[in-house]
């Protein structure tokens, strides 16, 4: 299956890419997808451990499973407001 990965803020700057596709086994958990991403972009490693994840625009847990066509966003510590 194919999942869209979205990177924001410091993660995008570190990876120098905002969006990519990952081909993963059906029902891969979020944590495994993040490991795959960290292997491909080693510079993300330190920040990924401090980031949350969202599947299709809602916060997700590490063992939530991904499905074909999902959008997995990595959410570094948020700092909106002021």
């Amino acid at each position: 299956m194919r999942v869209t990965i979205r990177l924001f803020a410091v993660l995008r700057d570190l990876a120098q890419i905002a969006e990519l596709q990952l081909d993963l086994a059906e029902r891969t958990p979020v944590s495994n997808a993040i490991e795959t991403l960290a292997t491909r972009y080693p510079r993300l490693q330190p920040m990924l451990s401090r980031s949350a994840a969202a599947i299709n625009r809602a916060y997700a847990k590490p063992d939530d499973e991904l499905h074909d066509g999902d959008e997995l966003a990595l959410i570094p510590p948020v700092s909106g407001g002021c």
């Binding site: 924001f8 803020a9 969202a54 625009r57 966003a73 510590p77 948020v78 700092s79 909106g80 407001g81």
Partner: protein, 145 residues
């Protein structure tokens, strides 16, 4: 931009204008309005450089969904007649507002409590990030060290 409750919620790429928000806060059941504006505050970093601006970036689809959800949770707790939640994207210079929240309620206690809840929840949860832009051209993501 209006949801089914008539709330005016938006991510805004240009300057936030308080009188544009006031236009939305008209209803004869309003007794108290509480407004919060968050501004870029001037400061210096460890290298003695002055802050010029904050650059705001949002995961827009998720952040908008979250702001509408915050509005819904506020309406479940307090009596709200009119509600505005605006957040800037892009560059916000020192002295300029990055966020504007306006809550119009029948009574003041509700307006104060809901406004405080919304800014606190927005800051803790919304998929929005800021980058500090310093006078020497360097920049740093807040929370990204």
């Amino acid at each position: 931009m209006l949801n089914s409750s008539g709330d005016f919620i938006a991510l805004v790429p240009n300057a936030l204008k308080i009188d544009a928000a006031m236009v939305h806060l008209v209803d004869e059941h309003i007794g108290g309005v509480n407004i919060f504006l968050g501004l870029t505050r001037g400061e210096k970093n460890a290298a003695g450089q002055a802050l010029l601006a904050l650059d705001y970036e949002a995961y827009a689809e998720m952040a908008l969904h979250q702001l509408h959800d915050v509005a819904k949770r506020a309406r479940a707790q307090w009596s709200i007649v009119k509600l505005v939640i605006w957040h800037r994207t892009g560059r916000v210079a020192v002295g300029e507002p990055s966020v504007l929240i306006a809550v119009a309620s029948p009574h003041r206690a509700e307006a104060f409590a809901a406004c405080r809840f919304i800014i606190d929840t927005l800051k803790a949860e919304a998929a929005i990030w800021k980058k500090e832009v310093w006078a020497d051209g360097t920049h740093t993501w807040v929370g990204g060290g």
